[in-house]
């Protein structure tokens, strides 16, 4: 079965000074799959995600999403096309309540990048509120919906941010270590949550250190080391690849 390629990172090269963070990275992500990117620290994984969402511009090469080149577009334009990123260190709105934190991205999805709706009460938008509550329930935070987000624990902030990403029902969700800093129990519930939406038209690219998470979720794994792709294939194939074991798994286990 051949699927559509939803994200194509085409020959991307990025260096910071003399450091080659990404060299000739060429990566295709198929629609509806969970694609894991793994690699030792400093392999260029986060740089790759930053290139995908427009935070960094590649030196050469391009990122193509759904047939359109997205390199050079504004971050909000890329988001409005359906590419959403969940950050490694939780990026939330610390001064707002949990419910508001999830309502804000829901507004972006419904009302677009700018709308001057200054005279309508927030409460009238029950559609937005219901969407937000639904996702807060799914990540298990509905009980604290009126708490201020800054008061959450780090693990809860990550789950909140996951809800903020999922409420936009993105076509491509980029997750940067979504379970880092979570307890085993929370990690497992996050895995279940991510599995639940597998193959519903939502593609996920996930960067992860936790091999338990990677092998329970991924349909395909790409291994980066020193800015280069050293292996790319289904989990079993990557697990057995001697180069990978040498570069990464061998060192970690």
């Amino acid at each position: 079965m051949t699927r559509n390629v939803v994200l194509h990172v085409a020959d991307v090269h990025k260096s910071f000074g003399g450091l080659h963070a990404l060299s000739d990275v060429d990566l295709q992500v198929e629609e509806g799959t969970i694609h894991a990117i793994i690699g030792p620290n400093g392999a260029g994984k986060s740089t790759l995600l930053n290139v995908c969402i427009g935070r960094l511009a590649p030196d050469t090469g391009a990122v193509v999403f759904d047939g359109q080149v997205i390199t050079g577009k504004q971050p909000h334009e890329i988001n409005q096309m359906g590419v959403v990123r969940v950050f490694q260190t939780p990026e939330i709105f610390p001064d707002l309540t949990l419910l508001q934190n999830v309502m804000v991205p829901a507004f972006a999805k419904r009302d677009g990048p700018f709308r001057l709706n200054a005279m309508q009460p927030v409460e009238k938008r029950t559609d937005i509120r219901d969407m937000a509550l639904h996702w807060l329930e799914d990540v298990g935070l509905a009980g604290q919906k009126d708490a201020i987000a800054a008061s959450l624990s780090r693990g809860d902030k990550r789950r909140l941010e996951l809800a903020m990403g999922l409420v936009q029902n993105p076509r491509l969700l980029l997750l940067d270590e979504p379970t880092a800093g979570m307890s085993r129990h929370d990690t497992n519930s996050t895995i279940d949550l991510l599995k639940k939406f597998k193959g519903r038209g939502m593609t996920k690219v996930i960067i992860e250190h936790d091999m338990h998470v990677v092998f329970s979720l991924a349909d395909r794994i790409t291994v980066l080391a020193q800015g280069r792709i050293i292996a790319d294939g289904p989990p079993d194939e990557v697990r057995g690849n001697p180069k990978v074991q040498e570069a990464y798994l061998g060192g970690a286990h």
Binding site: I53, R55, Q74, P75, H76, N79, Q80, V84, R85, F87, E91, I92, F93, P94, D95, L96, T97, L99, Q100, M103, V104, P105, F107, A108, K109, D111, G112, P113, F114, R115, L116, N117, A118, M119, Q120, P121, V122, E123, R125, I128, R129, D146, I148, M164, Q168
Partner: protein
């Protein structure tokens, strides 16, 4: 936040309107119940509410808002000179020109954030202030200030009335606004209530929520799919329009405008009012404005003689140094008092007067298992 918000808001609006309209009675005991002072409360209340829409919601600290106040005043006086002494066209023109001016300045200044934004707005305001004195003298009458004269065309009035002897007064159809009567106060009071209502709607709207989110984490807003620039520009223009309206009302109650209205001290004053009252709260800026204008009036009228009366019970040897010490803080030195009070507030009550009121309220309403007290200044608008 969702517990019957509509009813709470109507209660707040009703309470606010009642207090404003009853000011002549309420302020009687503290000797502030005269229209010229009360209309100042209202005008600066409008100015501060508008400033707070920008500063309180988005966190962008403008140091040049007096420029919009000045533009509003000049536009209003020109409306009196060219068209009619009726206050309505003057106010409309004041708001319109302030909005246009804010659009241009905001477009440029909002390219930067934080301290750079503040510096840019300050630079623009000082530039406008100096232009008013120099190049724009034909429009602004330079140092003398723009005022009415007998030779003004007043096209629209000319069609309907025979010009009376002497300078005409600003009117609202048949009621005179200028000259310190109650009509001027009530015009300003009604405008303040309307402005308060609009600000309340903005605070409770999705637009207001987005502005708060920008203040909280602007970078995240971009990756959430928002184009933050137009949100900020809209907030900037709205607050500029509030300032323009305040300027227009100043001109309506006293049709004379000089450049000092645009000076940086005037821009700083509205910052003080907002912080003193409570940044990001609805009522705070109005209270801050009233407190500052009240004390300006009271303390600047004090002289050494008043102090001698107050401390007359002390022996002469002690009275003299005490009086000369306190004399520093009154009269022309009243700014020193303001500075001390401001420092105390910022250090001990960062949420301003509103936070103080909330603490007092909590003291009397403490129940077991109560919500933890939050750093309220940034998190929630005051009810």
């Amino acid at each position: 936040m969702f517990t019957n918000p509509a009813r709470n808001d109507w209660m707040l609006l009703a309470g606010f309107s009642a207090v404003i309209l009853c000011l002549p009675i309420l302020l009687e005991p503290i000797g502030a119940a005269y229209p010229a002072l009360m209309q100042k409360f209202c005008i600066f209340g409008i100015f501060a509410i508008g400033f707070n829409i920008l500063f309180g919601l988005t966190g962008y600290l403008s140091f040049g808002h007096a420029a919009f106040l000045g533009v509003g005043s000049y536009a209003a006086v020109w409306s009196f000179k060219l068209f009619t002494m009726n206050a309505i066209p003057a106010i409309v023109m004041a708001v319109f020109f302030a909005a246009a001016f804010a659009l241009v300045i905001g477009y440029v200044c909002l390219r930067r954030s934080g301290i750079y934004f503040s510096i840019l707005t300050l630079a623009f305001a000082q530039m406008s202030y100096n232009l008013v004195y120099s190049v724009l003298t034909p429009l602004t009458n330079g140092e003398t200030g723009l005022q009415l004269s007998l030779q003004d065309p007043r096209i629209i009035d000319g069609l309907f009335f025979e010009p009376a002897a002497g300078l005409p007064r600003v009117n609202l159809f048949s009621t005179y606004i200028s000259g310190g009567g109650y009509a001027g106060f009530y015009l300003c009071a009604v405008m303040l209530i309307v402005c308060f209502y609009i600000a309340m709607r903005i605070f409770r709207s999705p637009f207001g929520m987005m502005l708060r989110a920008i203040k909280s984490n602007q970078n995240r807003m971009r990756y959430t799919g928002f184009n933050t620039r137009p949100y900020l520009l809209a907030a900037f223009v709205i607050s500029g329009m509030y300032a323009g309206l305040a300027g227009g009302l100043m001109a309506a109650t006293d049709p004379l405008v000089g450049a000092e209205r645009m000076q940086w001290t005037a821009s700083g004053e509205v910052v003080l009012m907002t912080i003193l009252g409570g940044v990001g709260t609805l009522v705070g800026p109005v209270i801050g404005a009233a407190v500052i204008k009240y004390f300006e009036n009271i303390f600047s009228a004090f002289g050494e003689r008043t102090l001698h009366n107050v401390f007359g019970f002390l022996p002469d040897a002690i009275e003299q140094p005490v009086v000369s010490f306190f004399a520093l803080f009154v009269g022309d030195g009243w700014n020193l008092t303001l500075g001390v009070v401001f420092m105390l507030i910022v250090i001990f009550l960062p949420g301003g007067i509103m936070e103080g009121l909330r603490r007092i309220w909590n003291l009397f309403n403490r129940r077991p298992g109560d919500r933890e007290t939050m750093p309220a200044a940034q998190t929630q608008p005051a009810e």
